[in-house]
Amino acid sequence: MSTEVLDTAPAPETGKRLSREQVILLVGLPLAVAAIFAVWFIWWRTADLDDIEARALTGEAIRAMLWEHIKLTLVGTAIVVATAIPMGIALTRPGLRRLSPLVVGFANMGQSAPVIGLLVLFAMWLGFGFWVAVLGLCLYAFLPVLRNTIVGLQQVDPTLIEAARGMGMSPLAVLTKVELPLAVPVIMSGVRTALVLLVGTASLATFINAGGLGGLITTGINLFRFPILVSGALLIALLALLIDWAGRVLEAFTRPKGV
């Protein structure tokens, strides 16, 4: 039967995986961030700063805070990914499925509690510092990854799972070869959400002495120095955009072909 009448196939796609919108976003965003950063950088090199401002905005100080901020974000994300995804997988397995509303409810509480409150409470209980801040941030960002993992796995067509089982794949093989690859897009969008949440809330880490670019904002407010405040806010915003961009890149390239 070489002739197809009604049953015509869609044309094969020539390796196109991204829509035009996505391409614009993926290329345009870093360019915009670079442009704004360049403007700030020129201002920073040429501005007439007073003593206090100059001391708060030394290159060294900014680099240190930026690095702390990135570290808070990435370490937090790594921990969230390493805990929430396995938990999401566990909660979609037949034995534990009934526990999932309970755990999601708990994670919901973690997200709805104000981070600043969480951070301060943890600091009072566990002391100040980097790891305590990371703990607070993780609780905050846990939910989107957990929820997306569960939703991503649940939306996999059950007939595909049955087909895989019926062909003789073990439950583990079904998970790793069918369920997870098909859930990756949803899970990765949860991870991106977590990244963006973390990069924003890491600004609050400075309140419990865990560093980050939030320090510029608090200094700016405390000392009534607008250039410091604005620099801090601007750098956080740019970093957030960049992290969001990185998340999108990750999403685009982890998405399995053919999906």
Partner: protein, 433 residues
Amino acid sequence: MSTTSTSATTASGSQERHGAELVFDSVSKRYAAKGRPAVDSLSLNIPAGETVMFVGPSGCGKTTSLKMINRLIEPTSGTITIDGEDIRSKDVDTLRRSIGYVIQGGSLFPHMSVRDNIAMVPRLLKWDKSRIDARVEELLEMVSLEPGRYADRYPRELSGGQQQRVGVARGLAADPPVVLMDEPFGAVDPITRQRLQDELLSIQRELGKTIVCVTHDIDEAIKLGDRILILQEGAQIAQYDTPENILAAPANEFVEDFVGAGSSLKALSLSRVDEVELQETTTARVGEDARAALARARSAGDRGVVILDDRHRPIAWPSLRELQYMDRIPATRDDRLPVVDRRATLNDALDEMLAASQDGIIVTGQRDDYRGIVRFEQVTAYVQEANRNAERAAMSRLSTQEQQRVDAEQPSGATVDADRERVEPDATAEDLR
């Protein structure tokens, strides 16, 4: 399709395995402790190498019965054996890898290429790479998909019918003796469905697997099945017999209702195209002198010329008028060319003729090669002939049934024995009147 299939078989060093015998021994499935069982004590013997169609109204337990064979559903009681071996004696995954499974719409894994989808079970069985590659090519050829063009596509880049073909290829990948099909062609349009059915028939003719296929479409069952199992609620066997016998002598009112009216037209689904005498017509090769072909056709009294490509496959069927204006026979493929496989039913042939508004249809053989044509008049003549035969058969059956009634009561016997018809004399005799 091409001839490479046979060479691929030798390359992969495998001789296709034939079917295995499948036996249900009072198999029951109960979902709740109380209430009616979904399958109630089903006993059934499916001979090796036959296609058995499970049909019945929805909720009759046909899918449950099918899924118990590969243990996607575990029976509550009773045993199922494949070639005498209890299916519970093996590890469940090992068992499933030895049973083909084809599902509605193909159920292909969207994130895997056609090649990876088909290679799934061979990989689970740890075949080496070259053997898997050869097998994938062979199977794609078998289901009429050019390997070079389709092997690396993703399912969403295929049409519904093509996806379903890949689904069939995937089910056959590891050369299982038993293949289970769950409404395999339910999700495609009627014309595609008919072609897929024809292909399955010709594949099955080559392979001789034991196929168990669930469908709700009685016409599909008549066309594909060596035997049909008609189930009532609780997977009670209403009748288990060949399509011919079921059409000619429905066991009871339920079967009769299910098979439906118009059995002389249904009989068209029982008759294959190759049962009527194929007619010759003028053919011409691509690139040949058109005028010579025209002259040949005129002297033979034909109204058209069937154009064949270099592999002897029909690609177009222009009328003599169209041919007049050509110098050479062109290689253009007519997408609406009315073609059927010689194993297609007369019903399908008639369908195609009506769809193409032609009073004839081209018949092709195993590798899509040209065999001849069938004309509309032949089909109508065949129907009239079949009608006369059916009437005569009904008359003679009536008289034998009268005879049986006079005879002593016969033990109704186990329904397992398919060769012996279980005719309920009262119902049939009454309904035939």
